[in-house]
Assembly symmetry: C2
Homo-oligomer: 264 residues x 2
C-alpha cells in the first residue's frame, strides 16, 4: 500500500496511491482512517514530504561499500574512526523537501553530493523496543537523499551545515507499507544515467536494529524519519542536474538541482 | 506579555498569562489571534512545552565563564578546541518536556548535569537575516535546561544521547515577548538553593547573532527553539532533586528529577 501526502488546488491531504491516481484519505495514517471516493490523477497533484517528523535521523557510514568509497574520497583515517559502532545523528527537520522540489546549492558550498538511501517511517511511539519488536512500530519505507556538502563550514563539529542546510533532505514520493526493507535495491540516477546500485542487505545496522537502538534512549514518534545510509559510491551535484533515487518496490524520488543564485 | 501552551481537562490551548490566571487564546500565536473571556487559575492548568518546534537548536560553550568551568571539570584541551567559532547543533525535538515534567535519569547514565539557559522562540520564518533584522523574527524568550549526560555512550561522535535522551530538554513555563534578552540574569536553583547565577550580557554569540548565523544556512520556522548556552557552573543531578531555572523578567522552569527505575 502506498500512502502519500499531497497538495492539490492549495489543499493538503493524505492519500492512497493506486495506479495513476491518488484517493483522498480521511483521518490519520497513524491511526484510524478511511479512503474516500474522491481521487485525483497523479500528474495533477504535488507530492509533499510524506510526514512532518518530530525528529529526522540519519545513520552514517552504514554500508561497507560506502565506507570503502569514502576512505578513498576523503580522509581515510577519519572515515575509519567514524565508521565504528552505531552512530545515529540528527539531520534536522528544517531541511526536508519533497519529490520534485529543487535541491539548492548554497553559495558557500564547494562540493555537494547525493546519497540515495532507504528511509524508515515510524508508525507508533517506540521506546526500548527490541529488534524483534521493531517491525510493529514501523509504518513503512520511502526514498531519501541525504544531500551532503563541503564548504567554508567543513571544520564544524556538528553536521548542521554539511548535512542540514535548507533543501538537503529530499524524502518521498510516498510511503510503501508492504515491503521487506532488507531485500531492496537502491539505484541512484544522475541526469538519466544510473551511477550506483546497492542492496539494503548490506546494512551494518539493519532497519530493525536501528529502530531498536535509537529507541533505547529516545522515544521514536509517529512520522519520525530515519535515513539508513548510502550503499555505495556518491558523486558531486551541479546546477542543472536531476538526481533520482529509485528503490524498486517503493518508487522514485526525483529532484532537480539549482544554484542559490538562480533562485534570485 | 506571557504566552503559554497549557492543558486543562484533557484539552490543550494557547493562553495569555496575567497575574494568577491564564486566558484562552483563539487563533495562532504566530499569526492572528484573540484573547477570549474564558480563563483558568494557573494552579488548575498543566503547562506544556510552549511550542512544538520543527527544530530544537543549542549553542554550545557560549559563555567564557562556562568554558572555564568545563575546562576544569572535563578534558581542557577538548573544551578549548570545541569552544572556537559559532557552533549550533541539533538537540533533537524528541527530548522536549515542559514545566513540572520529570527529568528521567537513564539507567545507562553515569553523570547527568543541568544547564540553565535562555531560550529564543522564533516567531516568523527567518532566512539570511542580519543580526540587526533578527529581533523582527523572534517572538520571545523562555527558560530552558540543557540536560546533559555522560555514560556508556560518551565516545559518541554526535550528542544524540549525551544531550538528546528522552526528557533532557525541559522548556517553559511560557514565552515572554517583552524583554531585552541581553540584560537578563539566569539563576539555577537546586533543591531550593541557588547554585549559579550569570548574566546574558556574557554571551559570546548573542541572540541576534545566533538567529542570523543559523538562518544563513537553515530557515528558522515559527516555534523553533534555540538554547543559548549555560552562563557558568553546572552540577550533577540525582534522583529526588528538584532543579529550577529562574530568569527574572521571564519566569521559573521547575523540574523534578527521577531515576528511570522508579518510573516502573
Amino acid at each position: 500500500m502506498k500512502l502519500a501526502r499531497f497538495r492539490v488546488n492549495d489543499w493538503e491531504s493524505y492519500g492512497l496511491v493506486e495506479g495513476d491516481r491518488v484517493s483522498v484519505i480521511q483521518g490519520s495514517i497513524f491511526g484510524e482512517y478511511t479512503v474516500s471516493q474522491a481521487s485525483y490523477p497523479l500528474h495533477r497533484v504535488k507530492f509533499l514530504p510524506p510526514t512532518r517528523p518530530t525528529s529526522f535521523w540519519a545513520i552514517g557510514l552504514n554500508y561497507a561499500a560506502h565506507v570503502a568509497h569514502q576512505e578513498v574520497a576523503l580522509d581515510a583515517e577519519r572515515i575509519r574512526r567514524e565508521s565504528v559502532g552505531f552512530r545515529p545523528w540528527h539531520k534536522g527537520a528544517g531541511c526536508i523537501i519533497g519529490h520534485d522540489d529543487p535541491v539548492v546549492l548554497p553559495s558557500e558550498a564547494d562540493y555537494v553530493h547525493y546519497e540515495g538511501e532507504l528511509v524508515i517511517v515510524i508508525g507508533k511511539p517506540a521506546r526500548r523496543v527490541t529488534p524483534e519488536e521493531a517491525p510493529n512500530f514501523i509504518l513503512g519505507y520511502t526514498c531519501g537523499n541525504d544531500i551532503s556538502g563541503e564548504g567554508s563550514w567543513s571544520p564544524d563539529l556538528s553536521n548542521w551545515r554539511k548535512k542540514g542546510s535548507d533543501t538537503f533532505g529530499p524524502v518521498g514520493p510516498w510511503i510503501e507499507t508492504d515491503v521487506d526493507p532488507h531485500r531492496l535495491e537502491i539505484a541512484t540516477i544522475l541526469n538519466g544515467t544510473e551511477r550506483d546500485r546497492g542492496s539494503t542487505s548490506g546494512m551494518a545496522y539493519d532497519c530493525y536494529a536501528t529502530v531498536s537502538g535509537i529507541s533505547q534512549f529516545v522515544t521514536l514518534r509517529p512520522g519520525d524519519l530515519i535515513l539508513t545510509g548510502a550503499p555505495g559510491a556518491v558523486e558531486q551535484l551541479h546546477p542543472g542536474d536531476v538526481v533520482e533515487v529509485e528503490i524498486p518496490g517503493i518508487g522514485t524520488l526525483r529532484n532537480p538541482v539549482v544554484s542559490e543564485e538562480s533562485m534570485g
